[in-house]
């Protein structure tokens, strides 16, 4: 086992850390309050190379391995306080870029990947429906094939990046009798006839990441926009989800590390009863717990990414990684607020926002309960 980064990896990670700290932390409180997506920061990330991290170089990416990729995203989360922006970037990477990299035709990759890498295009996927969330494959969105066009019908909800997306990977059932094997994936561009992103959905946290309902009514998609094989949608979705579960909380590990540093600083500076509050064992104990959570989360994340890079089975590890880090993140945020006392509850201290942002991690990409089901079934239960 080698726990050391190479000089090249260190150089890349330091560059990400500097970029995230210096270029992305403006208007975060206001954007959170108003629910504004920071387009400019998105483009900066694209120009810098974040969205294209693991995309092969021939399509405009950097071609980094999974371990370097998650470490870069961790640094991004450590430096950048806009968790919503990072969530949008994650949705873009795991639900639009990954399916294209693995299942896209050469023409589809050439057409979309360079723009998705450099920040000119925003991607996402549409899978959740009003009555189909955890049971994702019970999809009611259907698609009717009609010569050279496909017509997805009905409504999909909770589409991350929906209001701003240029390209959505849409899942729809072509043949209901075949169950999951009847689901196909399609690339649907913004302004396709019959596709409408509805109202922006108001949320508790991740407010800078826009989310919408998307309606398909007599929508037309050219048949060459089928992504992967017909009926291959469920497999494609599972692969995309496995990547997402393993990687989506890399930036959360960085966020936890930042919270830990903030709390240590505050506990040393804040004096009560003639001493730093960090000298009170109940405060120190909370900070030690935070440290343990950051370290255990980081180790699970790196182990998952190492397995992924070595083409080992990662289905179980992806779920465990997601489950563990989301739990740790929420607890770290609660402790960070408690350590800051009343100040932690105030918006300007930027701790309460972290908790609002973190709670969603127990819901998206499969709830914690679904992750536990997966782990249990993989353990033979």
């Amino acid at each position: 086992m080698d726990f050391a980064w190479s000089d090249q990896q260190r150089e890349l990670l330091d560059a990400v850390g500097r970029f995230a700290t210096q270029q992305l932390n403006y208007d975060v409180i206001e954007n959170d309050r108003e629910g504004i997506f920071n387009h400019e920061a998105w483009k900066k990330c694209g120009d810098f190379g974040i969205q294209g991290l693991l995309v092969p170089t021939e399509y405009g990416g950097l071609g980094t391995d999974p371990l370097t990729t998650v470490a870069a995203l961790e640094r991004l989360g450590h430096g950048c306080k806009d968790n919503g922006l990072l969530f949008s970037i994650n949705a873009h990477m795991w639900t639009a870029i990954i399916p294209l990299v693995y299942n896209g035709s050469e023409a589809q990759k050439k057409k979309y990947l360079p723009g998705l890498c450099n920040g000119t295009l925003i991607g996402g996927n549409a899978m959740s429906e009003p009555n189909s969330g955890s049971d994702a494959f019970s999809l009611a969105t259907t698609a009717i094939k009609n010569g050279s066009r496909v017509h997805p019908q009905r409504q999909q909800i909770f589409v991350t990046n929906g209001p701003v997306a240029d390209l959505l990977v849409v899942f729809a059932t072509v043949d209901k009798t075949r169950g999951p094997d009847g689901i196909s994936a399609f690339l649907v561009e913004k302004n396709s006839p019959g596709m409408n992103a509805s109202r922006k959905l108001e949320k508790m946290g991740l407010r800078t990441s826009p989310m919408a309902e998307v309606f398909f009514e007599n929508c037309e998609v050219p048949v060459e926009n089928l992504l992967g094989k017909e009926g291959g949608g469920a497999f494609l979705f599972t692969r995309s989800m496995t990547w997402e579960r393993g990687c989506i909380l890399a930036s959360a590990v960085g966020s936890m590390q930042r919270l830990l540093e903030t709390c240590i600083r505050y506990a040393n500076e804040r004096k009560q009863g003639g001493q730093s509050i960090g000298k009170f064992q109940l405060v120190a104990s909370k900070i030690v717990d935070m440290k343990l959570r950051v370290e255990s989360s980081r180790h699970m994340l790196y182990h998952y990414a190492w397995l992924s890079g070595h083409r080992k089975s990662i289905y179980l590890e992806a779920s465990m990684t997601k489950l563990h880090i989301s739990d740790c993140w929420v607890k770290c945020c609660e402790d960070a607020i408690q350590i800051h006392g009343g100040y932690g509850y105030m918006t300007e201290y930027e701790v309460e926002r972290e908790l609002r942002d973190a709670i969603a991690s127990k819901l998206y990409s499969g709830t914690s309960e679904i992750q536990r089901n997966i782990v249990a079934s993989m353990l033979g239960l």
């Binding site: 090249q8 150089e11 560059a15 991290l53």
Partner: protein, 245 residues
């Protein structure tokens, strides 16, 4: 056409650990004024007015990190003069003079000063040694043709516009441009770009610093001010205590 951009590694002026820390090893960065010079050279190349930008620095292997940062910004190739001594401006100007004769650039663009010692001498000395025209503290550069450059200089009296014949030395001021951010693709590309290592012997010169730094100290802490009750009291204090009137 070719631009040579000499640059210096300096302690990061934005590194918070430097200020007030008892023990610190500040990170090194490219001198911010030199970074502006690199940016300008790259913009000139991108406009098609020159074809190559060559970076050069003097120092031990540790400064290769700043060289890679320059290459990552887009500099085509770089030269490091291997010398770990604490050199003074005249020694630096002589080494750069020898390098200019070897590389034969059409323009040398460099920072007006380095933020560590703020000497503001190398550009001027280099122009003197080479017998080239110079434009210092420049906030705007326009190539008129292949032989003349118009430079806007920032002076205490205002903006001064000068035209210099090439080859020339130009030193950059703060408002010339805002340097680009090093991107990850840039960093990846930089690894494949060559860094040439030269010594003073290979350049055929023998330099030694003419000055010695005896010590470096912080400026004395400013004493707290006082509030005066009236204009009369202020005048009296200015006369009797400050002795400025």
């Amino acid at each position: 056409m070719k631009i040579l951009v000499p640059f210096k590694s300096v302690p990061d002026p934005n590194d918070a650990t430097v200020a007030g820390a008892a023990v610190s090893t500040p990170k090194s960065v490219i001198n911010p004024f030199d970074e502006i010079a690199i940016e300008e050279a790259l913009r000139i190349r991108e406009r098609g007015e020159v074809s190559e930008v060559v970076g050069a620095t003097i120092g031990p292997p540790a400064v290769d990190e700043q060289i890679r940062a320059a290459l990552a910004m887009g500099v085509d190739r770089a030269i490091r003069i291997d010398d770990s001594r604490a050199l003074d401006p005249y020694a630096v100007a002589r080494i750069l003079g020898a390098l200019v004769e070897k590389e034969a650039p059409h323009v040398v663009i460099m920072g007006k000063q380095a933020v560590d010692d703020d000497s503001n001498q190398v550009g001027q000395m280099l122009a003197g040694l080479l017998g080239w025209p110079q434009a210092t503290f420049v906030s705007k550069i326009e190539f008129l043709d292949k032989t003349r450059v118009r430079c806007t200089r920032e002076t205490d009296a205002g903006l001064e516009v000068v035209e210099v014949n090439l080859p020339a030395i130009i030193t950059t001021d703060l408002r010339l441009n805002e340097p680009r951010y090093v991107s990850l693709p840039g960093l990846m590309k930089a690894r494949r770009k060559p860094i040439e290592i030269l010594t003073c012997d290979q350049l055929g010169i023998n330099v030694r610093p003419l000055t010695t730094v005896l010590s470096v100290a912080r400026p004395p802490k400013r004493a707290a001010g006082t509030r005066v009750e009236s204009v009369e009291e202020l005048i009296t204090k200015l006369k009797q205590e400050a002795k400025v009137l």
